[in-house]
Subunit: 204 residues, 2 copies
């Protein structure tokens, strides 16, 4: 039996495109898919547990891990660091599980430089108009914040060709099926099947 490394699937896209929902549904449906846990320097909330919601680190520890290249990506958000620990993701993949990461486009592009085998999926809204509707409908952002997110989305669209796949998230059910198809297809790529091909080549 050939032990296969899992696939790192990076879901990204503009705020409001629905990457969080897609990611959540994919995890529920795919048994072999694990979610990466981020590290952060912000204080744990009462209900949060170390290694469940986050790995909680001191600022000093976080910065020394940055220096050691221990993050696939990281960002400083309002004085707190957030990052994806490379060792944790590698462990999931080496155990043969797939790993899904839902992350903003800046983070996705940091990962692209480090993990050439990863699969990058851009979750796009059906249109700018629809994106505006969704952001407004959420009711969690003020008008100026919505305007800023729409401006960011425009920049992020220009970056789409850097992704492997683009999913237009019109109906969530379809988008989830499309992510599943991508995972299945990626595992069948000849570039990911050298061992099986070698066995056949040896006449086994």
């Amino acid at each position: 039996m050939i032990k296969r490394k899992g696939i790192l699937l990076v879901l990204s896209g503009p705020s409001g495109a629905g990457k969080g929902t897609v990611c959540h549904e994919v995890r529920k449906r795919m048994d072999n898919m694990k979610y990466s846990i981020s590290a952060t320097t912000r204080k744990p909330r009462v209900i949060e547990r170390e290694g469940r919601e986050y790995f909680f680190l001191s600022k000093e520890d976080f910065e020394s891990k940055i220096a050691e290249g221990k993050f696939l990506e990281y960002a400083l958000v309002y004085d707190n660091y957030y990052g994806t620990p490379r060792d944790y993701v590698d462990e999931i993949l080496n155990q043969g599980f797939d790993c899904i990461l839902e992350i903003d486009p800046q983070g996705a592009m940091q990962i692209k430089e480090k993990m050439e085998d990863a699969v990058f999926v851009f979750i796009a809204p059906p249109s700018m108009e629809e994106l505006k509707k969704r952001l407004t409908f959420r009711g969690t952002e003020k008008p100026e914040e919505i305007a800023k997110r729409l401006g960011n989305a425009e920049k992020e669209f220009k970056n789409m060709p850097n992704y492997d796949y683009v999913i237009i998230n019109d109906k969530i059910e379809e988008a989830v099926c499309e992510v599943e198809a991508i995972i299945i297809a990626e595992k069948l790529k000849t570039s990911r099947n050298h061992e099986i091909m070698n066995l056949l080549n040896k006449g086994e």
Copy 2:
């Protein structure tokens, strides 16, 4: 509404791996998938109709079409030509249908040089032993013919890295689902979605 070109899917692999069965099942299940009709110089059988089983051509016509580059691939088999007419396949694709071709590895590699957008899938048996079993079980080939086909299979395995995907055809149902996943995933590739990305970029 964006009119999309279809995908040319080339299924190949050694004799006995089951590419014919996979191809047949895929066609039954996928509404958008059409099968290319080959051209040949052999005489039509009584039940065969022009443009249904084959396009029947004279040797002279076939050879002038070869000279004009009108075939995606062709071969001379026991004095008769067989080939895949390029215009016919282009028409299917331009209408937005996908097109499936089941073809031997030599033919597949001819197409690879001409259609860079095509998707190449190698249908492999689970093992050489299983391939031998299947060829024997068919009972249509003599032992020396089986030995020849096994020898060819060994050569064809070496060529697997030239394909995009490899499907180990263990259970037909799984193999068909895998082909479907490949088609879905290929259509989501950013490299096939420039128009949609342009629309989003224009803020539409």
